[in-house]
Each structure stands twice: as structure tokens, then as C-alpha cells.
Symmetry: C2
Subunit: 137 residues, 2 copies
């Protein structure tokens, strides 16, 4: 099959540095974080503002790509599930989706309220939340 | 900055073949479509079932990567916006997010109710919808 070149456009700055202690989801104690973009991305960022809810797309660079099924949430008492039914970081293309609220924008640095990604995680895209993402149709 | 190898794990099969006439969002007349996965992905798919709502992640292989701002929805009467505030396919990493409902699963072929992606679009990941995606927290 075909492959494509995904390019880091920035990095996460976060107090989270330890994979084992990182929360699995943002409502499980994720801290505030910064999205630090390449200066070349300033034009693409220019309409983002505090209060916006966006989907940050990351590349989970600590994940394994050869895992196709997992125990949900690492709980070995639960039956293995195919990774496409889970949010496991381990999957053929370890893409992370993170819905966040922007709290401040300072040039190419965007502050967000809560993010469960590790410090240094590459950012690959940012999108606004749409109605069909949030089930409001 | 770093780059990463994204691998196609399947393709969209859809009656949509024309970029100009494709709907911009699924509630704008998107037709039913199939997600045709590589046979090697069967294990990762095994818990998907009709009625599941999932996020299909695609690589928008007709998009331009050098575009950083656009007229929203191509409407030149509207002011240019940074692409991270829009769902324009044209962006540094042309990743598509598509929330779909599964209607049937036949081996490595997954049927979905409505999808606005063009025929042949590469699929790179599938994730379940979580509460924080849909704003139910």
C-alpha cells in the first residue's frame, strides 16, 4: 500500500514526561500544556483565539505500530479488542486526536487547558470542532 | 522538523469521484460508502459492528500542502482565514477526519452511512468516538 510523509509542524510542551503516569484521557487529570508551532505556521494559526475548541492531531512517537489488538486500558482481565475499537496509542498509524480548549495565543505558542500528550509529542494538524464531531446535528 | 511515515491501511470506495462536486461535509448530501481495508487489518477491525460511530482518518491525497490560509468554503467574498481555523483539505498535513456510522461489516469491508471522501481516498486510522469528542462531559 501507499505511504505518505507526515511532517511535524510543532511540539507539545507539557509537564507530562512519563508514559506510565500520563492520563489516558483529558478528563483524567491532564494538565495545561502549550502547543509550540514552527514559525512558518504563523499564517495558518492566525484566526485561533482563546475560547476556541480545536482538535489537535499528534503523532504518538512512543507507540508501537505492530499491535493490532489490546486489552482495553491495559486491563488484562478484559478481553482483547481490535485497536480500531479502542483509543490505544499502539496501532498501525499512531495518530492522536485531542480535543482541547485554547486559553491564550502568543505568536506561535498556543496555550490549552488540558492535554494528555507527553512533552515533546509532535503536532501534525489542528482543526476546528464541527457540529458533526460533537453530535449536534 | 521530523517527519513520519504514514501508511495506507485501506481505501474508500464511494460513488464520489469528482472533487468539485463532492460535498464539503457529510450532512451536505454525502452518499453511503465502503471502507475497504487491507486483509492484514482484520484483527484490528474485529470488534467493529453495525451502529458503531467511529472517526475515520484519511489522507486527502488531492490536497495542496503549501496552503496556509484560505477563503472559508472557497467563498472569495469572505476574508482569508488560517487553515487551522478551517476544515479546508489544503493544509500542511492533509489529514481528513470523518465521523461515520457503521451499517455493516463484511470481513475487511466496512459499510458506512454517509462519507464525504472521494473514491480511492487512503484510510490511515479508525477510532471510536469518545465522550470528550462529542462534548458530553
Amino acid at each position: 500500500m501507499a505511504s505518505f510523509e507526515l511532517r511535524a509542524i510543532g511540539r507539545v510542551e507539557s509537564p507530562l514526561t512519563d508514559l506510565e503516569s500520563a492520563p489516558r484521557q483529558p478528563d483524567e487529570g491532564a494538565p495545561p500544556a502549550s502547543l509550540v508551532f514552527e514559525p512558518a505556521m504563523l499564517e495558518a494559526l492566525r484566526n485561533l483565539q482563546p475560547g476556541d475548541e480545536v482538535i489537535v492531531i499528534t503523532w504518538l512517537d512512543h507507540a508501537r505500530r505492530d499491535v493490532l489488538s489490546v486489552h482495553p486500558r491495559g486491563d488484562t482481565s478484559r478481553e482483547m479488542e481490535g485497536v480500531f475499537s479502542t483509543r490505544s496509542p499502539h496501532r498501525p498509524n499512531p495518530i492522536g486526536l485531542h480535543r482541547v480548549e485554547i486559553t491564550a495565543v502568543e505568536g506561535s505558542r498556543v496555550h490549552v487547558r488540558a492535554l494528555e500528550a507527553l512533552n515533546g509529542t509532535p503536532i501534525v494538524d489542528v482543526k476546528p470542532v464541527l457540529n458533526e464531531d460533537v453530535g449536534e446535528r
